[in-house]
Symmetry: C2
């Protein structure tokens, strides 16, 4: 059984490139922490796979990161968090944070009316994991969920502020607007990239909860409480692992990360 | 070394559900042939993977179908055809047809001016495989290619005749319309489902080549020439194998196939 030390890295993982929005939020919030990112690009997207397959793949990745001596594990993929977080948590020797728990906490803290909307991929929405997480925190809350399957491909196309994306968002949000909610959780790590467009459409009607920012806050709190914050004020190490190197990964990855992607290595599980 | 017999099935494969448009065309064109379909739904989409990964997966599937004694192999996935058809052909004891060769043949036969447009996924277009196949058949032809990454997710969302799909198609076809071409190849097995919408936008300007129909014609010719056409006039067997059973596979699959999906089995490679 390994012992976690403050200089050990934070392990962040996702089915592909989306979790880099979480890495970006962590870099901004915790600028002295070493981070290892794992993106399962050979098997992305998870959102269309069965529960058994997602559980199996998720545990493989968690095991890989634990072998790299990470001090906490962050599940940055909403699909994996929805389907496999409990199993990973049960088997992990280090604390496990996940984007759903983080987003739910933030939404419950911020919603005045208790009416909370959630948008995400079909698998995340079908799993009902946000509704469960929100109700565990506040049994009186009312959750309205809406799957938005086209947002991920639109973000990956780079149409972040495009009439097609705007029209798609208006279509998906139409049923959301008639619900009495005051808060909308962006339940997918791709969505922070279209937050300006979504914010423009929702206007004053809804406050948006970005789960990448939420989990960075939660990680900061956890490291402080557990004495595992890295006390050094030197340049940290950032290491990225992927299972395949698709065309445009670098381009799309840097758009998500907001900076250069160095130390990118290919591994197989 | 196996000997092919007329009663042996035709093997059709794709990375996921898209190749069912080819199966549908085969059922209509060759109603007495037994067909085995293989969709690698656990690892879909191939379009974002590296060349080495696509080659490896494609050969695994071809080997699986050859063990089922198929009399011809049909690569119904444009990405696999673009990247791995030559390798599969070199290693196969039975004839191998692929959607790119079939679409290219049909386009060259039908284009009066020699100006041919091709639309497909980014990987298919980046591979330049259609341009190569078309030039092998007619060195004087001029090919204009355009990647349309959002068409696959739009088709899978079921927005076959939706303002968002129309706006997306208008955006993608804008540069195509300024080229002097008379024929447009639908270089992706998902695209036959939006053929009415595309046809509506292109109007009289372009004739559309559907590679599912093209390959069904080519398969019919091959079976006749080689004496491998099934002479029986009984109900044929249709068997479908997938590597994962995602949510909505049945629904989406039946939309692609245009009829019920029976005998659907899960296998792992």
């Amino acid at each position: 059984m390994q012992t976690s030390l403050p200089q050990h890295p934070i392990g962040v993982f996702d089915s592909g490139v989306g979790g880099l929005t979480v890495v970006r939020a962590l870099m901004d919030r915790l600028p002295f922490e070493n981070i290892i990112y794992f993106g399962d690009t050979a098997r992305v997207p998870y959102g269309v796979k069965s529960v058994a397959t997602i559980e199996h793949y998720t545990q493989q990745i968690a095991d890989f990161l634990l072998r790299q001596q990470v001090k906490i594990l962050i599940i940055a993929c909403n699909t994996m968090a929805a389907v496999a977080a409990d199993k990973v948590r049960a088997a992990s020797p280090v604390p496990v944070l996940d984007v759903i728990e983080a987003g739910a906490r933030n939404a419950v803290a911020r919603s005045a009316s208790g009416g909370i909307g959630v948008i995400g991929t079909p698998t995340t929405i079908n799993s009902n994991a946000y509704a469960r997480a929100i109700h565990r925190l506040n049994p009186d809350s009312r959750v309205y969920s809406q799957a938005c399957p086209l947002f991920v491909p639109l973000v990956e196309e780079g149409w972040l502020d495009h009439p097609v994306t705007r029209l798609t968002a208006q279509e998906y949000l139409k049923p959301v607007f008639v619900e009495s909610i005051d808060t909308l959780v962006l339940g997918c790590t791709h969505y922070p990239l279209i937050k300006p467009l979504l914010s423009d459409i929702t206007g004053q009607r809804l406050q948006l909860v970005d789960s990448a920012l939420s989990i960075a806050d939660q990680a900061a709190q956890l490291l402080q409480d557990s004495g595992l914050a890295n006390p050094q004020h030197e340049l940290p190490d950032y290491q990225y692992y992927v299972t395949d190197l698709p065309v445009k990964f670098q381009t799309i990855g840097e758009r998500f990360l907001g900076r250069s992607l160095n130390r990118l290595d290919l591994v197989s599980l």
